[in-house]
Symmetry: C2
Subunit: 168 residues, 2 copies
């Protein structure tokens, strides 16, 4: 397979994966393109490579920067801005876990906490089912929360070797 074709296939696969996870396909594709580019790319180059408009490129680059997995690079002697992606995929995963925890898990945990004080007869079937489901989910959410905290602090080596042995 040609390098060009391989890059295209990778960009396509990464876009599909992103889509499935509620991430704009183009955002995932811009990320993929930067992942396989040895040097930072300009907006122009990204637009040309992926056949997208200036606005689209700009918006998705902004979002990727907000997620903390793409950086603006200023090359000396160049007026243009360039963009590069964090290449260590373990760092990328940690960053995404951190952001999703903040944006999604934490708000849900807040709601779950409020739902604990529901009025009514504790012996009623409906009431019981509700409070039991909520407290079950709360326990799970607390565990997920502290597991993610530990992942964020853990280093790659921990994930790649010791973790796999410990849980064998």
């Amino acid at each position: 397979m040609e390098l060009k074709e391989a890059k295209e296939q990778f960009i396509h696969a990464w876009g599909t994966l992103g889509s499935n996870w509620g991430i704009n396909k183009t955002m995932a594709q811009v990320h993929a393109l930067l992942l396989v580019s040895p040097d930072p790319l300009s907006a122009e180059e990204i637009m040309a490579e992926l056949n997208i408009s200036r606005g689209n490129a700009n918006m998705n680059l902004r979002d990727l920067i907000e997620w903390g997995i793409v950086n603006k690079i200023h090359k000396s002697g160049e007026r243009k801005e360039f963009f590069s992606a964090e290449k260590d995929i373990w760092e990328v995963a940690k960053q995404i876990a951190k952001e999703r925890k903040k944006r999604e898990l934490e708000p849900v945990m807040k709601v779950l906490n409020q739902l604990q004080n529901v009025e009514g007869d504790v012996n009623e079937k409906d009431h019981k089912a509700f409070t039991e489901t909520i407290s079950n989910i709360q326990k799970f959410a607390n565990n997920a929360d502290s597991t993610i905290d530990k992942l964020i602090k853990a280093d790659e080596n921990w994930f790649l070797s010791s973790f796999m042995k410990l849980i064998r």
Copy 2:
């Protein structure tokens, strides 16, 4: 807070969480409704409770069953079919992990494998960046894959207690 309002808030929060993870909001809401219902519900009841059409209810129930987290129940003496959700959230999480692995991780791993044999000069900058990124992602994917396999086989107790101590 009234039980009715609490249920509504939970259904709303679960729907939002689902949306963020690429799951149809209505599907997540049907799931939430079944999670807080002590007894199985009929399609009619679900339609009424969530204000959705018959087709919509039917389609999302079918998908939830396909995901393995909702079951059809036949009540004796009743012509109608009823639906109930798996209430143990750890079982739900394992089932979803299993399905997403099959539907998303495995296809990506297949593509990554094919991208290993790319032609060209191994010393070229572009070529090097590409193969390094791909093999980095491959290692990560292999780890994720075998971690999910272990999670699927692990029991709840393992997640709730021993895991947290081990990785301290």
